[in-house]
């Protein structure tokens, strides 16, 4: 026979449980719009029954509120985070590629390359061709030539600015990663403190998940959470302590947070002497692990995330850094290595057109990174083989300097990469495209101006000595402006043409010329008579235009100037195709990822989200249950009243 007052206790257990449940419902309702909040439910069960020693057996004793649990599906979390990484990467691509697309735009509203070159420059050249002797035609032509070069200066500067801002963003993303790592490590501790006491740290877990979600947009994440076992049991069974060990790895298993410990990344400014690409802005950041000093690279092919997107745009050279194989065995300690060029260019001239290495820089020899101080290149006149020799080799170190000499011996055929291969058409790629065009164009015009011929199929000596309009031109039509000294430096193709070799110290060679520093020779701008329009005596034969008509050919004839298999005037078509396709891809992938984010997000919400109707329903449900239980107590009260005050009295 159970206690006389047991009914009252049962009513009480109902009342208190539903009171608590209503609080949980209230909490859900309150957090209906809270980002990352997981729906909570009250876990309740019937209380343990009492043996009554009566004919009817066990008697129920009411209800017990066991725990408040959160509803969350970790599978969707995983899917969601994988997608966040892609979304992060493609959003960066989209944001920057749309800008690049705008820069190169040429339509009814913006004057771009086509307007300046195929319209203005072409028209000026045609007029010069018809009337080479008049000052207006010559001035007009120079103006058009100048504005083409200013276009390239401007474009290059814009891309460099963009590279700077990408670099800044890399740094702030890295700082964000560090901040998140620190916060997660601290949350791990708090969660364990709470959960050790046996209760679930729902709110803190939500916070942690939210941070991991954010991090997954920056880099790929991998989360493992295993219970910590109580080792004091010897019964062979596993007993959990109630705490967990939470590990967060990023970018292919690099542990960022392990329990309460966390690692940080640091951005180290790359030395301005050893740039990966000739066109890189100063202060490019390399990312290292602060603890071990190892280099951190999120660029592996299976990875994603906005940090990878940023690095791809900042360093992307379409996987086409200068490279080749070691030409002959080298012993450890050697300070120079010769490389056999294995790229697509067929002559030294073509290599120089697309060359994007600095005078000094970084080089990877058989997977070990070194720095070099200078280089020379040459083409074998009979076999056509192209070789580069890099001197002053020293192991690459994060800061400071290292003893010269290679660390390990090299065998013939070992791989050589100068700078770094990054498989994306990022800023270095477009800079190289512009440089390629500018170098070829300058070379053709200079050569026509000096020798009346632009063919460089063979490196023959000049066709005829210069004999120009009123003057002998000893300077090149285009020059490059030294960034540091501000000097205008003359170009001379003979640096390559005559002996098929070149070195990083040849200031007159065309690899020095870039879209950023190309200028029309200021002497010519000041005296329009200084450039050549005819190979005959220009003083007398004012209207002779043999030189001009050769310059016209540079524009339209792709055997005279071949830019990626097209004529020079098709530059924008070729490059804009790259940009348009890149942008289109970025847009498409971004919208796919956004769509997926929406879908997976909804799937997550399907489990963890709070629904208005459900809350309303719960409210009524649990209120009714509460009311019912209070009715129980009322009824019990009446029973006791009857029993105690009226029965047998």
């Amino acid at each position: 026979m159970p206690s006389q007052f047991m009914g009252l206790m049962i009513g009480y257990s109902g009342l208190s449980t539903y009171q608590a449940t209503l609080n949980v419902v209230g909490n859900n309702a309150a957090n209906v719009e809270t980002e990352g909040y997981s729906r909570q439910v009250m876990n309740q069960k019937a209380s343990d029954a009492l043996r009554t020693y009566t004919g009817y057996g066990m008697a129920g004793t009411g209800v017990t509120a066991v725990s408040i649990d959160q509803l969350r599906n970790t599978y969707y979390d995983l899917k969601y985070r994988n997608n966040q990484a892609d979304l992060g990467r493609y959003s960066v691509h989209k944001a920057y590629m749309t800008q690049i697309e705008d820069y190169f735009a040429d339509d009814t509203t913006v004057d771009g390359f086509n307007t300046l070159y195929t319209e203005n420059f072409f028209n000026a050249l045609e007029e010069l061709n018809d009337d080479p002797g008049t000052e207006t035609a010559r001035t007009n032509f120079l103006g058009a030539a100048k504005s083409i070069m200013e276009y390239f200066n401007n474009m290059s500067a814009k891309l460099s600015d963009m590279q700077t801002s990408l670099n800044q963003e890399v740094k702030s993303q890295v700082e964000r990663i560090n901040k998140i790592a620190q916060e997660i490590a601290s949350l791990n501790q708090q969660i364990n403190v709470i959960e050790l006491a046996g209760s679930a740290a729902n709110e803190l877990r939500d916070q942690r998940n939210l941070l991991v979600d954010e991090l997954s947009g920056i880099v790929d994440v991998e989360v493992t959470e295993v219970p910590v076992l109580d080792e004091s049991y010897t019964d062979g069974k596993q007993h959990s302590l109630g705490t967990t060990r939470f590990t967060l790895a990023i970018s292919n298993g690099n542990n960022l947070v392990e329990g309460y410990r966390y690692n940080t990344l640091e951005c180290v400014e790359r030395s301005n002497t050893y740039k990966n690409s000739q066109m890189d802005v100063d202060g490019i950041y390399d990312i290292y692990w602060s603890g071990t000093g190892g280099e951190f690279s999120p660029l592996a092919i299976n990875l994603s995330g906005s940090l990878k997107g940023l690095l791809e745009l900042r360093d992307g050279n379409n996987d086409y850094a200068l490279g080749g194989t070691v030409a002959s065995d080298a012993a450890a300690g050697d300070t120079s290595v010769t490389m056999t060029y294995t790229g697509r260019a067929e002559s030294l001239k073509e290599v120089i057109n697309e060359l994007n290495i600095g005078a000094a820089g970084t080089i990877t020899l058989s997977n070990t990174k070194y720095t070099y101080e200078s280089w020379t290149a040459s083409e074998d006149s009979s076999t056509g083989a192209i070789t580069f020799t890099f001197s002053g080799l020293a192991p690459f170190v994060k800061e400071g300097s290292a003893t010269a000499g290679i660390l390990r011996s090299l065998d013939e055929g070992d791989s050589v990469v100068v700078g770094k291969n990054v498989d994306y058409q990022g800023i270095p790629y477009y800079q190289t495209q512009m440089n390629n065009w500018v170098r070829q164009f300058a070379y053709c015009i200079d050569k026509i101006q000096k020798y009346g011929d632009s063919s460089y199929s063979n490196y023959s000596s000049p066709d005829y000595t210069s004999n120009l309009y009123g003057n002998d031109m000893t300077l090149s039509f285009f020059q490059w402006k030294d960034r540091v000294s501000g000097d205008m430096i003359d170009l001379n193709e003979e640096a390559v043409d005559s002996d098929l070799s070149i070195s990083s110290t040849d200031t007159t060679a065309y690899f020095n010329l870039t879209a950023a520093n190309v200028k029309v020779n200021p002497n010519i701008i000041n005296d329009v008579g200084l450039f050549s329009t005819t190979s005959s005596d220009g003083d007398v034969n004012l209207s002779d235009n043999d030189v001009v008509s050769k310059m016209v050919e540079v524009m339209t004839n792709k055997t005279t100037m071949d830019f990626r298999g097209c004529s020079s005037e098709e530059f924008l078509k070729v490059v804009l195709s790259d940009i348009a396709l890149g942008t289109k891809n970025a847009k498409t992938f971004t919208s796919i990822s956004e769509n997926l984010e929406n879908t997976i997000g909804n799937q997550k919400l399907s489990v963890m989200g709070v629904d208005d109707d459900e809350v309303a329903m719960d409210l009524i449900k649990f209120q009714n249950a509460y009311n019912l239980n209070s009715k129980i107590i009322q009824t019990m009260t009446e029973i006791y009243d009857r029993l105690i005050l009226q029965t047998g009295v």
Binding site: G133, V540, A580, V607, G609
Partner: protein
């Protein structure tokens, strides 16, 4: 599956956003009339659009500048050629009128002056300019065809020798056997003093002789009496017609004061010469030419005189070259650099100016890859023979006038036997003078008849140049029409490629707007309602 309000609002938000993005794209298309706003929307169309734009730009350049400039150039050329043709015709008819009855020409000097004026006007036509560029002087568009007072004055300021500011050396003429003409001159004509002395000394008729020789007429008379070359200006080398056998260029060298014979392939092997000419100032000094094997150059009249032996050698040659110097130039003279290879050594500041090219073709690009020669070279039109024919006539007329004066004077002496009592002697002199007059008249007649022939030839030359210029104009018109067609075609294609069909866009916008509105309506309904509305 459990669906929460948040999920529904997420989905509707996503869909509404999609609708809005589409609506935005359409409204941008409508506002800009362009199919592609960013190249990445449709790379193929965008890149094709660029190609159309540059085609249109280049067609516009060709059409509005190159072709129209070329047309203006050739139109003016045509007008000048018409004028030159008119002058050539007039000269031709002047010669004809003289031939029908030369005696009717009462005032010979007026007749001659008229011809000279016509010839001068003829060459003056060659100074026509278009847009401040001389039309007939090849690439030397700043260089007039004839010397002007200004040219001479300007050169004097910096000339090596101010009395001969322009000194042309090795003016290199190339002749062929067609240029060899019969030529005759008087030998042993009475001098003025002989006439005066007729009463005392008889002059034998037999000593007045007509020497029949041959000549090649140079382009200029009054050339230098001294034919020595400055350093580096003694010879020129130029390419002439392509050799029919080898297909290569035939290269000829011309040397000052030397008549050189070349055969078809440009060698001198097996031919006579070269001849260093003898400089004379009076044809009579060349009297022995008929018999000796030498070439004489009368530097005053600009004739190369030689006899039959030399002629027969010349007739074997394909090309004959001769170089000479000339320093005396008057305003109105045709500049030799437009006709011949030569050097100008007269300038102190510029040194020796070489003129090694006189057939300069100005070509205008009229469409991509096609150029047309638009200029006419003076050499093909203004033959230097036109002026030289007048010189010949002047000389012949002078000879007639001189002989007539002698005859008249002797006639007077004959008519006055009282004063001039030695009638026999006077009569003999009279006969000699009469013979001279006969020869002179004979020569005049042959000069006039030669000039009638040559003026016809010169007229034809001008005519031919006119025809070829007319052909160029015709071709330019065709090119122009084709370019206009081309422009329209490309413009249509470009518009089809770049521009949207307004009706399509309007319909699309209406559709998109409808979808958008209904999406909003549904969303509004869903968002408003919840269970709370019913409890």
């Amino acid at each position: 599956m459990r669906v929460t309000n948040k999920m529904m609002s997420n989905n509707t938000q996503y869909n509404i956003n999609m609708n809005k993005a589409y609506l935005d794209e359409l409204s941008q298309q409508q506002a800009t009339q362009r199919k592609v706003i960013n190249p990445s929307d449709d790379p193929v169309t965008a890149i094709r659009g660029l190609r159309f734009e540059s085609s249109l730009a280049s067609i516009t350049q060709y059409l509005e500048r190159n072709v129209s400039d070329a047309i203006s150039w050739t139109d003016i050329t045509q007008t000048s050629i018409d004028k030159a043709q008119e002058l050539a015709r007039e000269m031709s008819s002047e010669y004809s009128s003289a031939s029908s009855d030369f005696n009717k020409v009462s005032d010979r000097s007026a007749y001659l002056d008229n011809l000279k004026a016509l010839a001068k006007e003829f060459y003056q036509t060659g100074n026509t300019k278009n847009d401040n560029r001389y039309l007939f002087t090849g690439y030397r568009t700043s260089d007039s065809l004839t010397f002007s007072e200004k040219d001479i004055e300007e050169r004097k300021l910096e000339a090596v020798n101010t009395s001969a500011p322009f000194k042309y050396e090795c003016i290199s003429e190339i002749f062929d056997k067609e240029d060899v003409e019969s030529y005759s001159f008087l030998k042993g004509a009475m001098k003025e003093s002989d006439v005066d002395d007729a009463n005392n000394t008889a002059y034998s008729e037999t000593s007045v002789k007509n020497i029949d020789v041959f000549r090649i007429r140079l382009a200029y008379d009054d050339i230098d009496s001294s034919q020595t070359a400055s350093t580096g200006a003694g010879s020129t080398t130029q390419d002439v017609a392509t050799d029919a056998v080898s297909g290569g260029k035939v290269s000829l060298t011309t040397t000052v004061k030397t008549l050189t014979l070349y055969n078809e392939n440009g060698t001198s092997t097996g031919l006579g010469g070269p001849y260093t000419v003898n400089l004379i100032d009076n044809d009579e000094d060349a009297a022995s030419a008929a018999t000796d094997k030498a070439v004489y150059l009368n530097y005053k009249t600009g004739n190369l005189i030689f006899g039959d032996d030399v002629r027969s050698e010349i007739m074997e040659a394909a090309h004959i070259t001769f170089g000479y110097n000339k320093s005396s130039w008057d305003a109105g003279d045709v500049k030799p650099e437009h006709y011949f290879c030569c050097y100008d050594t007269g300038s102190a500041s510029k040194g020796t100016i070489s003129y090694m090219d006189y057939q300069q073709e100005i070509e205008y690009n009229v469409r991509s890859g096609q150029s047309l020669k638009i200029n006419t070279n003076a050499r093909d039109l203004f033959d230097l023979g036109v002026g030289r024919a007048v010189d010949d006539l002047e000389e012949a007329l002078n000879a007639v006038s001189e002989a007539e004066a002698k005859v008249a004077k002797l006639q007077e002496m004959l008519d006055d036997p009282v004063k001039y009592e030695n009638t026999d002697k006077v009569q003999m002199c009279f006969n000699a003078a009469q013979k001279e007059l006969d020869y002179a008249n004979q020569r005049l007649e042959s000069v006039i008849s030669a000039n009638i022939t040559s003026s016809g030839k010169y007229y034809d030359k001008v005519n031919l140049a006119g025809t070829s210029c007319g052909t160029t104009i015709k071709r330019l018109e065709i090119v122009k029409n084709r370019l206009v067609d081309n422009y329209t075609t490309v413009e249509t294609q470009a518009s089809e490629n770049n521009n949207v069909q307004l009706t399509d866009v309007v319909i699309d916008i209406n559709e998109a707007n409808m979808v958008y509105t209904s999406a909003l309506m549904v969303t509004g309904k869903i968002a408003q309602q919840s269970l709370l509305n019913y409890i």
